[in-house]
């Protein structure tokens, strides 16, 4: 199973984890969106490579969704929403960067230990892919927890979802992958439309989720 195909898959999946770390330390919304678009491109390459290695042409559809929808449509739409609604361009981070990055490393180490030990009998390609995928999921969760800003929480969710798509394509021959990636795209589209339609900016004067929390403070 060693060889070029394994190394490339490994490289791309590892690249996804690396880009997840890059997402963690972005403190401007526009650069956050650019890095997210980069992550979507890496995901698309990784999925396309899996499609080629596994000889599973339907996975090319998933790769195409990743590149068109996640690398282009969503970042552009969010760019426009940020400009339209005049959202603050800077991202507030709960806590400081250092501990967040260290926590991120801890989570990656944890997912490696857990996944590699649990899947000892599975085939190596799927096994490494799953370990990387769990890392991306964990980093996405960490990002959602440490951001106060609704747009960057959405980006955190989408990067979490990228990890899931990586896991689904890594599991060789898994049915319904395309359907699941379509369902996820619908979900993400709804979130993005929701940010826009609910006009969180207009209602709250800021898109910080902390401001949202104040509304329920008085009524509990």
């Amino acid at each position: 199973m060693k060889g070029l195909s394994f190394d490339l898959a490994h490289l791309l999946a590892g690249g996804l984890v690396l880009v997840s770390f890059m997402l963690l330390y972005q403190n401007r919304l526009y650069s956050l969106l650019n890095v997210f678009a980069l992550q979507a491109v890496v995901l698309a390459l990784s999925v396309a490579w899996q499609a080629y290695v596994q000889g599973a042409p339907h996975l090319y559809v998933t790769a195409a969704i990743a590149i068109v929808f996640k690398a282009m449509v969503i970042p552009i739409a969010l760019h426009r929403i940020i400009a339209r609604l005049g959202i603050h361009r800077e991202v507030e981070i709960v806590g400081s960067l250092g501990p967040t990055m260290i926590a991120g490393m801890g989570l990656v180490a944890l997912s490696m230990v857990v996944m590699l030990r649990v899947t000892a009998d599975a085939d190596p390609l799927a096994r490494e892919d799953l370990a990387f995928a769990l890392s991306v999921v964990m980093l996405g969760l960490l990002m959602m927890v440490t951001r106060r800003n609704a747009v960057s929480q959405v980006v955190g969710f989408m990067s979490l979802e990228n990890g899931l798509i990586l896991a689904a394509t890594g599991a060789k021959g898994m049915p319904l992958v395309v359907e699941i990636s379509v369902a996820f795209s619908v979900l993400v589209a709804f979130i993005v439309i929701g940010v826009f339609l609910f006009r969180i900016r207009e209602r709250f004067d800021t898109v910080d989720v902390q401001a949202l929390d104040q509304f329920q403070g008085g009524r509990r």
């Binding site: 799927a126 969710f157 979490l160 599991a171």
Partner: protein, 482 residues
């Protein structure tokens, strides 16, 4: 693949889907509310037809003795809620809280939600089940935010983010189940078909199944509303339209619980895997005790009953976690009783908050004097939900407690403690609302008492006399659950 021949299953999926499309195009609330009721009624009839003729099990569709209980309960409460919704929505339209366009959207989403829930219940494919639950979540998010007030948007956003994280974790668990199944059942569709999985589960790698169940339990557990992942539930219940609170509490939580049960069965079939029961029992117990104490601090009537839902989902998860024929029987009965009682309470609360123009408990007083029907309805509902005899929940809670004494006596202490604390909190709040000096608006209300009476009647009947065939049926299903 002959899975979609026109039978009961095809109908319970096709009727809501088609009605959703029609309702999206129907102007005028009278017509659309009636269509909504009619469609829910036809779906209920189609669901009942499943008793007579079950469809063949295919790679996508499965109807067995376990999920037929859920399907019938689901379609029944959906029907009564649509009747309640018709009168509730008319009032909302009158006072201008909803515009006709929003209403059209609301009705279409209601049917789409029923479609999603029914699909999740009949799905034999764990991937399809996941997609269906995701769809049901999305539609409820949109309905929770339908009032567009800051509070409603805040609730919808919170529900959205937590619900999305929950279903994302559930998907990871689903992928892990497939990974565990692949070496045994081979690649492709079979690896996600539940009936195939359960037949071969004994040969799966236990470690992978364990990890998968942790993700599935956390993921779908978020949707069940188990602590500590319950944060979305009170807000979503309090800020959305009341029919949606009724459907959320009465149905959607059950659907998520059904998903957990299916995976619990898988783990039970593998001797090397961890026992899933204790995990469920602990999460359930924590939810029960936590929610019971939280009940004391509520000032919003819908929020209070939302915490009560967390409490009862905790009891149900605890009962299934304890396992064994008696506890499973109690869990099933409690689930049905809770769905019926809680949705009827929300029907009552919906009318009460419309009459009084507020959801604040402090502003609602003396209901039995000003609105006898609603006031006594609330009294009956709270008595039933608190587990007083002669209602059905007394029996199911009694069974849960006694089976706990039999199997794990020391767990009975926090269980009974939590039940008593919740009981005290509910009666304390009820006293002020139902009795005392009347306050606020005393105008009579055009309430639809039929759904409320039907639900309480069934709950009362279950508490006094359960027909022997029904008991035999429940015992059979309970034995399936191990």
């Amino acid at each position: 693949m002959n899975a979609f021949v026109p039978d009961g299953v095809a109908l319970i999926l096709a009727i809501p889907a088609a009605t959703a499309a029609i309702l999206a195009l129907t102007p005028g609330y009278r017509l659309s509310a009636r269509l909504n009721v009619l469609s829910a009624f036809l779906t209920l009839m189609a669901a009942l037809s499943l008793f007579v003729r079950k469809p063949e099990t295919g790679p996508y569709i499965l109807v067995d003795d376990l999920n037929i209980v859920f399907i019938v309960l689901n379609t029944f409460v959906a029907f009564t809620t649509s009747v309640f919704s018709a009168s509730y929505i008319a009032h909302e339209l009158e006072i201008g809280r909803l515009t006709p366009v929003q209403l059209r959207f609301y009705h279409a989403m209601y049917q789409l939600l029923l479609f999603g829930m029914n699909l999740a219940l009949v799905a034999n494919n764990i991937g399809l089940m996941w997609v269906a639950i995701e769809m049901a979540t999305l539609t409820t998010v949109l309905m929770v935010g339908v009032y567009r007030t800051p509070e409603a948007i805040e609730a919808a956003w919170k529900y959205f983010i937590l619900g999305s994280v929950g279903i994302a974790l559930a998907l990871f668990g689903t992928i892990l189940v497939y990974m565990a199944a692949r070496p045994v059942v081979g690649e492709g569709l079979d690896g996600m078909v539940w009936t195939v999985l359960i037949a071969h589960v004994a040969a799966f790698d236990p470690a992978q199944l364990n990890l998968a169940f942790v993700f599935l339990m956390l993921g779908y557990g978020t949707k069940v509303g188990l602590a500590p992942l319950h944060a979305w539930l009170p807000d979503a219940h309090a800020e959305g339209p009341t029919p949606i609170s009724a459907v959320l509490s009465g149905l959607l939580l059950n659907v998520a619980l059904y998903a957990v049960l299916r995976f619990k069965l898988l783990l039970d079939g593998n001797s090397g895997a961890i026992a899933p029961g204790p995990l469920m029992a602990i999460l359930g117990l924590v939810s029960l005790v936590f929610a019971a104490f939280m009940l004391y601090r509520r000032r919003d009537i819908k929020r209070m009953f939302a915490y009560s839902s967390i409490e009862h989902m905790g009891i149900i998860a605890f009962a299934f976690g304890i396992g064994g024929p008696l506890a499973n029987f109690a869990g099933l009965l409690h689930m049905i009783m809770h769905s019926l009682t809680k949705s009827a309470i929300f029907f009552t609360v919906g009318h009460i908050s419309q009459v009084k123009g507020t959801q604040k408990i402090a502003d609602i007083r003396g209901l039995t004097v000003t609105h006898p029907m609603l006031g006594w309805g609330l009294v009956i509902g709270v008595f039933a939900i608190a587990g007083l005899p002669p209602f059905g929940m007394f029996m199911s809670e009694f069974l849960v407690v006694s089976s706990t004494f039999a199997r794990a006596p020391w767990l009975a202490i926090p269980l009974v403690g939590g039940l008593l604390v919740a009981f005290g909190a509910l009666l304390l709040r009820l006293h002020g609302m139902a009795f005392g000096e009347p306050s606020g608006d005393v105008a009579p209300v055009k309430a639809s008492s039929l759904p409320i009476a039907a639900h309480f009647g069934l709950v009362l009947m279950a508490g006094i006399w359960l027909p022997p065939p029904l008991v035999a049926w429940f015992q059979h299903v309970a034995s399936l659950l191990r």
